[in-house]
Structure formats: C-alpha cells, structure tokens
Symmetry: C2
Subunit: 139 residues, 2 copies
DNA sequence: TGATGTACTTCCCTTTTTGTACGTACTTCC
DNA sequence: GGAAGTACGTACAAAAAGGGAAGTACATCA
C-alpha cells in the first residue's frame, strides 16, 4: 500500500527535500507522529472529532487527564496545526477547541484505530494470560 | 462515523460486559491502544507490515531503537496477540517476527496514519513557528 | 457573604520510560 | 586466532512524563 519503508533510515545528501520517513530518527514526521500518538494526544483527537469543546468539556470526557497534561497536550497539537483554539475575551474564561481540516483527517485515522481495538477487545483479552509478558523493569 | 464517545467515562453497573471505551481510564482497550501507539510499538507495526523479519532486521530498519526497547516492545505486542514470534532452536539464535491477522489490521490503520502525516509534512512544518509552543517543563 | 466555575500556569516531587554497557553461547568469516 | 553476528536479559542511571496543589480574576448563584 503506502511506500513508507522506502529509504532505509537514510538521511543522505538530497538536493531539495529529504522525503519524509518516520523510520529515520531525525525526520520531523516522527515527532508529529509522536505528538499524535502520545498518551493524551490520541484521546484529545478522538474526543474532538467534529465537535467544538471547551477545556472543561474535554477534561470531563477524557477520563483521567490532569489539568496540566490536558493543557500541555492541547498546546502541542495546536502548534502542529491540528486543532484550533478560540479564546473569548470574557471574564470567566471561555475557550473553545476544534479540529482543523488536517486535524480532522488525522482524527479519523486515530478513531478508526481505536474503534478497531475496541471492537476486538475480547479477542485481545482472551489470549492475554499466555506468558507473564516479561515484567518490565521489576521493582 | 464510529460510536466511540458514547458512554461518558462511565463504568457503571453493567450486567455482562462494560462495553469497551478508550475514554474511560480503566478500560483495557485504553491499555492496548497505548501499546499500539507507544513510541516504538507504532514503528514496529509499520515495519512489520506484511513481512517476516528477524530481530536484527527490525533494529536496522527502525532508526534509533535500542536492543532493550525493541525486545520489550516486541514482547508487549506479542502478549497482545498482534505479532507472532517464531524461534528456531539453532546455535546462533534465529527468531522471526510477523503480524497476526489482527496485527495486520492494526498495522494498516497505523500505517495510514503515518502516511497521512508524512504526506502533509510540509503543511505541518509551515505553521510551526507560530508561537514558541510553550516550552514544556522548562529546565 | 461565601462557595463555585472557568482556563490555565507554575512549582515540586514521584513514577515511568529509555538508554548504555555488559554478558551469553556458539558459529562463521578473514 | 580474533572479530563479528545473533537475540536477547539484566543492572544502573539519566531523562522524561506525569500528578497534585495552589494561585489568578471575576462573575454568578444561593
């Protein structure tokens, strides 16, 4: 399908543009991908799908986020041009968040991924207790 | 499209199955999503797309992974039933990794997300220097 | 009058993640 | 004969991520 794994981690001399490749550590596309797939970034994009929400709305919908993390995530996503922030200059603060066109496309992909996982959860869980899954960094 | 944000963070009393929702912090689906969207998990799934690769192949293709992280990521993904590990009992170790059918589906979604980002990289980068993007955790 | 809600920011501290280096057991290549 | 390659496990330590509490400025509600 796509042609992602084409240039093997190469960042070789290129006259104009290096051709984006998430597989090479220094390609900016990898950073964007990280933002989108970050712990809270993913959920923000999902929740914001085709909606306009305020900070507190987002917080209520995304179970477990802290103020600090939500704010930070929103800033990163805004800087990447995925979401738009609209602040009204009123006394009790009122800020609205929505997806940009590009953000909407990204959101769709993320949403389809999440839906796939939710739909197959039973299958995932069924094969869980195969091996103890190598306790990571035992404490 | 999908029906994800349906039950608002609810984990209320349900007779049988709680209905998967990545938005509720304790739903197992969120954990799976995290594995899939983890820093290296995403790249492993992309690289493994319709291929059979050995540990060292994976390491070479995924720029920047350390042995430890790659091994750990592979174990988690295997435990989730997304990839299959086949070890040959030979003297210089020989192990092959490939996607399970479910893993292949997940891989496709991830791949489409990554492709979208790569394809729009210029657009992402163009609007970058808007605001200093709020230096996170200033040191 | 006092509590509540809004949208964050900042500080401080704990938890988690990640990297580096080393060891293994044996074979093949130079 | 020594170097390199294979597929990890483990210990140690640095770096990053994350949580919690407090503060702001004012208006509305009871």
């Amino acid at each position: 399908m796509a042609h992602i794994g084409t240039n093997e981690n190469a960042q070789a001399a290129s006259p104009s543009l290096p051709k984006p490749d998430v597989l090479s550590p220094d390609c900016p596309s990898r950073a964007i991908l990280q933002h989108v797939t970050s712990r809270w970034g993913t959920l923000v994009l999902i929740v914001l799908d085709a909606k306009v929400l305020r900070f507190s709305d987002l917080k209520r919908r995304i179970g477990g986020v802290s103020d600090r993390m939500l704010a930070q995530t929103l800033q990163v996503l805004e800087a990447d041009g995925l979401i738009l922030r609209h602040a009204f200059d009123v006394v009790p603060p009122h800020v609205e968040y929505r997806l940009t066109p590009l953000g909407a496309e990204v959101s769709n992909r993320v949403l389809s991924l999440a839906s796939l996982i939710e739909a197959n959860l039973p299958q995932f869980l069924s094969q869980r207790p195969k091996r103890p899954a190598a306790a990571q960094t035992v404490r």
